[in-house]
Structures are given as C-alpha cells and as structure tokens.
C-alpha cells in the first residue's frame, strides 16, 4: 500500500497460474498541472506533472513511462505482465516538484 491512503491504488490479481498474462491497474491522485493554467488572480500555476513512472516485478522492469502534460489529471494506467513467480509488483513515480510516490501489491503464482 501507499504511505498515505488515497494517494494511489493498484490492482493486481492476487493469484495467477505460471505463464498467465495478468492485468495491472493503477490510479494516482495528482493534478498533473500542465503549466498553462492561471489561478483566479491571473497568476500562472507552475507546471507539475508526474514525468516518470516505473513498474517492477520482483525488481525487474515491466514498464517505464515518460509522461508529458498531455496525461489527464489523476492519471490512470492499465498494462500487463506475465506471471512468472510469486512476488511483488511495485510501481513508483516522481513529479516535477521531486515528490515521489509508490504503490505495490503481492501476486501468488501457482
């Protein structure tokens, strides 16, 4: 789980057969400020987006994303991995303000 509830959520099937391709779903709370908006006083709102996101399965990279301001606020991703062994799927990310976040889930492979 994430360090603060509601920052991000991950869904992985808790159990899978060896070799099965499973879906990983991810939702993160983040405004993904594109840097083009202004607040009610007309001041520019600084760009702050999650620019990098990496998903690992027992340390091995499944997916690495470089993201731009064209990603919707509160980003959602779904992707796949092949279940090879019981272990953990961990996703971490970093935004332009240097704030990092992570979520993880266990998968049991039989």
């Amino acid at each position: 789980m994430s360090e603060a509830p509601g920052i991000g959520r991950i869904r992985v099937p808790p159990r899978a057969r060896r070799g099965e391709v499973v879906e990983i779903r991810l939702l993160i709370q983040h405004p993904m400020e594109n840097g083009f908006r202004r607040d009610t006083l007309g001041r520019a709102v600084a760009k702050n987006i999650i620019h990098r996101l990496v998903a690992r399965y027992d340390g091995r990279e499944i997916l690495r994303a470089e993201l731009g301001s064209g990603i919707a606020a509160n980003p959602y991703f779904a992707f796949f991995t092949r279940a090879t062994a019981s272990g953990r799927i961990e996703i971490d990310w970093e935004d332009d303000a240097g704030v990092r976040g992570s979520v993880g889930a266990a998968i049991e492979v039989t």
Partner: protein, 152 residues
C-alpha cells in the same frame, strides 16, 4: 416581448454558447515529422500492427480514454521495445512514451489523456528488430455548453 425573445435565444443556445465556442480556439497543428523521425530513426514508420482505441467523439478534452495495442508475440526474440503517443494540436505534442519488453507478456496499454481540441492522434511502436509501426486516428473533442468557473 424583448425578454421572451432573449430567453428563446438563450435557452436555444446561441447566447450561451458564444463564449465557450470562442474559447475552443484550436492551436495550430504541430508538424509531427521531426518527433516521428526522432522516435523511428531514419526509415519512416510503416502503417500497421498498432491499434488505437479512442472515442471518435470525446465529451471533454481533459480526460479521454485511450487504448493501445501492438501485434507482437512479446518473446525475448521478438517484442515491442517502446510505444509512443503523439497529439498534433496539444501544446506539447508528445503525450507519453512507454518502454516495455518481454516481461510485459502483452503489448497493450490503457490510459487517459488530455486533448486540446479535435485533432489527429498518432501512436508509434518500435520493435526489438528496430522496425517502427504506426497508427493514427482522428478525434472530435466537444466543448462544454455552459461557461464554468475555470473557463474564466
């Protein structure tokens, strides 16, 4: 009498839509060629093997569902190395780049993107043999009928 006339116009749409319609000024389309060359290398990408799932009409450009899939066995010998999404009328046309490999098992992704108005969206896939495949689609993005706080 006058009031009645105004109501008709207002509720019928003309008066209310005047502002948001003006607000959806499309940015000029970027020339995607340099970006595509940077991703694909010297040989131009070939159309095929990539599928884009995007609604033909998106209700709100702030969050549009996008599905991407590439025909590939995703084996050690033959897999997708990267997938890229480009939107020609977004202020920054490169929406996202994903690096993946055989561990993904399936070259398929879903995400939600921003689209600054109706435009062409291009997806590229670079394979393990260096070949680049592409697909593109047109999407219409509608604007809100009523002025809202953020459109000010």
């Amino acid at each position: 009498m006058r009031r009645r006339h105004f109501l008709k116009v207002g509720a019928g749409g003309t008066a209310i839509l005047a502002v948001p319609a003006a607000a959806q000024q499309l940015l000029p389309a970027h020339d995607l060629a340099p970006l595509i060359m940077q991703i694909a290398g010297t040989s131009p990408p070939r159309p095929g093997r990539v599928r884009i799932g995007l609604p033909s009409l998106a209700e709100n450009g702030n969050s549009v569902p996008l599905d991407l899939a590439v025909d590939s066995p995703m084996s050690e010998a033959d897999h997708v190395r990267s997938i890229h999404v480009l939107a020609e009328r977004n202020p920054r046309p490169l929406v996202a780049s994903f690096q993946l490999g055989p561990l993904a098992g399936r070259a398929q992704l879903s995400l939600r993107i921003r689209l600054a108005g109706s435009q062409r969206v291009v997806a590229l896939a670079v394979m393990s043999d260096g070949a680049c495949w592409s697909a593109e689609t047109e999407v219409v993005v509608t604007s809100a009928a009523c002025l809202d706080e953020l459109s000010l």
